[in-house]
Symmetry: C2
Subunit: 174 residues, 2 copies
């Protein structure tokens, strides 16, 4: 790595606990598993209803970075959006569905990551991100909902995770 | 059995091939399998779109019997409605879905039953039934569509099968 460049780019270091958990998430989100549990085990064209703000794509991160949102705040945003997305998928599955255990294990990893993020105080997080997170967790905002395939939600989750943790956590590109 | 009573009720005998196949269908449609493959392996509240005429309930059979439709014609109707229902479910499943093989095996049994039914000439079937069958197989009738849970389609399929084949094929009540 090259810490000098990272400092210039404003990439705050991720905590060791965060890196360990994102590596576990990366393993669980590998292509074969996403394909099997999120596509093959669902009806063709099946979608879940999520709020508009719950879809976080690489392009959103690029835009927010250009708006000089800190890396810590972006990771915080990704964490909230992704754990919510996993919950949405988990909620539509009966306990005996073959993807149920997979989504539960994913959610447990996010839960553990939440412990790490509880270290960030809300005041440390830029207003723009805090506002989006608040919106995600607010009820009654369902009017701006969107139908998204389960696999697409996890595809975005993984892609954005690689953008945000790839360098500081040395995630590799597998 | 008591053939005298059956004759009075107008229950034409089912062919031996029909009885064998309906016994195989009854085994495949047993509660545990319907529950696992049609409920546990689907998202909660998942429905398939079917045409209004593709839902055939015991009450429909009672009504048609009172209108003196022959038992052979009712079996013919049940066959068309049920094989179409199985096809609708099969079509929404990716090949690697854990319910895919189950619905394919069901469809193969209906396919074999179709061979038996090809013995009936269209003219033998009462107009009321032939019209419903034609409607089911016509395109562009999608406007009167209905959202039905996969398990509900197979529940109806089994219940009506027992009404129509229970006595002539001695299906038992398991």
């Amino acid at each position: 790595g090259c810490p000098g460049v990272l400092a210039v780019l404003g990439l705050e270091a991720a905590a060791p606990g965060e890196c360990e958990l994102t590596r576990l998430l990366q393993d669980k989100l590998q292509y074969e598993m996403r394909l099997q549990y999120m596509k093959h085990y669902f009806p063709i064209d099946y979608t879940v209803q999520v709020q508009y703000e719950e879809v976080l794509r690489p392009s959103n991160i690029t835009r927010l970075r250009n708006g000089t949102v800190s890396e810590a705040a972006l990771r915080y945003l990704w964490f909230h959006v992704s754990s919510q997305a996993v919950l949405r998928i988990h909620e539509v599955l009966p306990e005996k569905h073959p993807s149920w255990k997979y989504t539960q294990e994913l959610y447990q990893l996010f839960d553990a990551l939440g412990e790490e993020y509880s270290k960030y105080r809300q005041t440390d997080v830029e207003t723009v991100v805090a506002d989006v997170v608040k919106l995600i967790h607010s009820a009654g905002a369902e009017s701006r909902s969107k139908a998204v395939r389960p696999k697409a939600l996890l595809d975005n989750c993984l892609k954005v995770m690689r953008m945000l943790y790839g360098v500081p956590c040395e995630l590799g590109t597998r």
